[in-house]
Symmetry: C2
Subunit: 415 residues, 2 copies
């Protein structure tokens, strides 16, 4: 099996998946993660050559007026009023939008290449795949070789710090079937997705200057997903995102006051209270948190103390794949559509794991925050004045009502 | 002129508007703010009697099963992981939705009553009005007489604090014309809206336990506005909203380090830099902040040091109405619709003013944060995984590009 700089899959993982790295025509990193026996055994191999005539992604290029200009590394600026860093990603304006359109292999850059073709916007060199991971072609954050990463000032004013948005954005395709839903994928394929999360977490944590590695999934046109193909993303932030900063402040304060781990104690309290626990298997528990803010919200926590996704053992990875599959299926059944068929629930699935280097990481604990904007089969919760202007959430329901509905959809014990 | 507990309009305001209080049938407070000379002079008066047969809003009522149950005061819970309080407003699930529908006076609760009718869901007793303010019928936060406001614990666990969401939600109707746009209102009418913001700020600041008074406007179906009628809202939070907390942390830290006022210095820096200043009149300046996070974002600041809306003097109130009018008009023209006609821009207009009692209020400064989710005539910015899951904003544009577009739409000097 290929050696990675930092990733050392255990024996068990090696028996179940195979990771094959390559480089796309414009220089981006690309990985096949295969769970099919013939690829795992090495009997078959993946196509490594990207036939597209792409220039190096950091090469000078023609601008809108046809003039050749140097590659402009994305920048970020610090908002002095909130302390938030804001990457400013003008290059993303040109990214493809196909959600809601009937897609063909020639129109979906995440599809496997059609045999014999060299479709210029297809990202996958092979004509088939299981799971693939690659660097985003239109990243809001990227590390550009040779770019000085020091802070300077907008208009020379020290109130306004700016520096390159030297992070990283990756895409994870969950399956080659472009019209499939993550909820319908077999647990074996979701296990490979879990492996992708773990693999990227450990590899990316060695990039210079990364503070937080954030695997997530945006699902559904209702939240602006530009490609319907089942996929997730990994953002590597070169700063601490505001929500993680708030969580670290509170987990650290709790540790100082009690010596305990807030996330562990919250999980234990939910298990103890019982009524908001909606799923449980050998390694994981899922609950609607007592102070849920979204109309549908479930947190998933490992029973064992784990800081980051790569620390999960084999059993935990399989159990997570099983629980994620059940969560997605029950999420699709959650809202009453009148015909009993359920719906394709729009959701955001957000991994919160210990930060890369912040010393407060020791008192954090891995957790998945899964939530939906949908508040009824035909209604969306919008983030309007209170949420967007004041970061003050108002819930239209209660955690107990959310949990009660989940409990109608299947047993808590899913082992 | 009617005397209010705390509001003392100056002579100038008395010459230009008249405030007439009344009480709606279910006990909610209601105010007419008139700018028409015959009402200001007292020649004509407003209808004070709400003819609807509504029960007291806090009386016991029938639940979904027809059983009579006591009024349930809305509760809020503290999220231990972030420190955020989350009001849980199940009553709001039943609020009316008419946006996008062809509305009639009988279907729009914000419309003036049809002469001779006693439409049961109409909120305005009179058959006409200029501006009205009243308590929201479906509030996410409300102070219920006799309800004990102390903290208790969800499931008896001290990790989960809960207490009544003892705040207040008010609605401000900007104009009786239900299909008008705020951008099209005469400056005189917007001046009355400014007076409503000031009036409510001072009155509501005397309610017990209120930390922040937040006048805001949600405009556009795209952000889920349930009533298209031109209106705004005032939320009174019985806790410090997360965004204000972040801003106060930074303004206070800046004061401790420099002795200066961060918001004043940011305004001065923008005026100094010049290129992001998009409007200016005698009392106000509007700029795209150097670290703008939204695809369209403008901050409006008074040139004089002012903490809260009620501190604005007459000149500043008129000048604000004029600038707000220009801002809305240019906002509607901002995106190229191809036909040169502009669009009805969806926007959020959020007043950030000094908190009611937090001692850090002295180093804050009044500012309006105006922004839109729209990033092109046919595209919306969605708050997906990064924004909703990590509170990490990524901008698809730059502040300079936003400012450049504004500068194409009219002169900076609007006096």
């Amino acid at each position: 099996m290929t050696k990675f700089r930092h990733y050392e899959p255990d024996t068990y993982a090696q028996q179940h998946i195979r990771i094959t790295p390559t480089t796309l025509a414009d220089g981006r990193e690309f990985f096949y993660l295969d769970d099919e026996p013939e690829y795992v055994s090495g009997k078959k191999t993946r196509e490594l050559h990207d036939p597209r005539p792409l220039a190096d992604r950091f090469a000078p290029h023609a601008d809108a007026d046809g003039n050749v200009v140097p590659y402009a590394a994305p920048q970020m600026r610090r908002d002095p009023l909130t302390g938030d860093w804001i990457p400013m990603a003008t290059a993303r304006m040109n990214r493809p939008i196909t959600a809601g359109l009937k897609k063909t292999a020639s129109g979906n850059p995440l599809a496997a290449r059609i045999p014999g073709s060299a479709y210029q916007d297809g990202e996958v060199p092979d004509t088939d795949y299981d799971v693939v991971v690659f660097e985003n072609r239109f990243p809001s954050m990227v590390q550009v070789p040779g770019v000085d990463n020091t802070t300077s000032f907008v208009d020379g004013n020290h109130l306004w710090q700016t520096r390159p948005a030297a992070g990283r954005c990756e895409v994870i395709c969950f399956d080659p079937n472009e019209s499939g839903l993550p909820a319908d994928l077999p647990v074996e394929r979701l296990r490979t997705v879990v492996e992708a999360w773990a693999f990227r977490t450990v590899e990316l944590s060695h990039l210079e200057g990364i503070e937080q590695i954030f695997p997530f999934e945006n699902h559904g046109q209702e939240i602006g997903v530009s490609l319907a193909h089942p996929h997730g993303q990994v953002y590597c932030y070169p700063y601490m995102p505001a929500k993680m900063e708030a969580e670290l402040t509170h987990t650290e304060e709790y540790f100082e006051q009690t010596g305990g781990n807030l996330l562990r104690d919250l999980m234990a309290a939910e298990i103890d209270a019982g009524k908001r626990v909606v799923m449980r298997n050998h390694s994981w528990v899922a609950y609607v948190p007592a102070a849920a803010r979204w109309p549908l919200e479930v947190h998933v926590a490992p029973l064992r103390d784990v800081l980051t996704l790569d620390e999960l053992n084999d059993q935990e990875r399989w159990d997570l794949a099983q629980m994620y599959s059940t969560l997605l299926k029950r999420g699709n059944a959650f809202f009453d559509t009148g015909d009993g068929k359920g719906m394709d629930l729009p959701y955001i699935s957000a991994w919160h794991q210990a930060p890369v280097r912040d010393p407060r990481r020791a008192h954090y604990r891995l957790n998945l925050q899964f939530f939906s904007f949908r508040r009824a089969a035909n209604k969306i919760k919008y983030l309007a004045g209170s949420e967007s202007g004041m970061a003050a959430w108002v819930s239209d329901t209660t955690p107990e009502l959310i949990a009660q509905r989940f409990l109608e959809l299947g047993p808590v014990d899913i082992d």
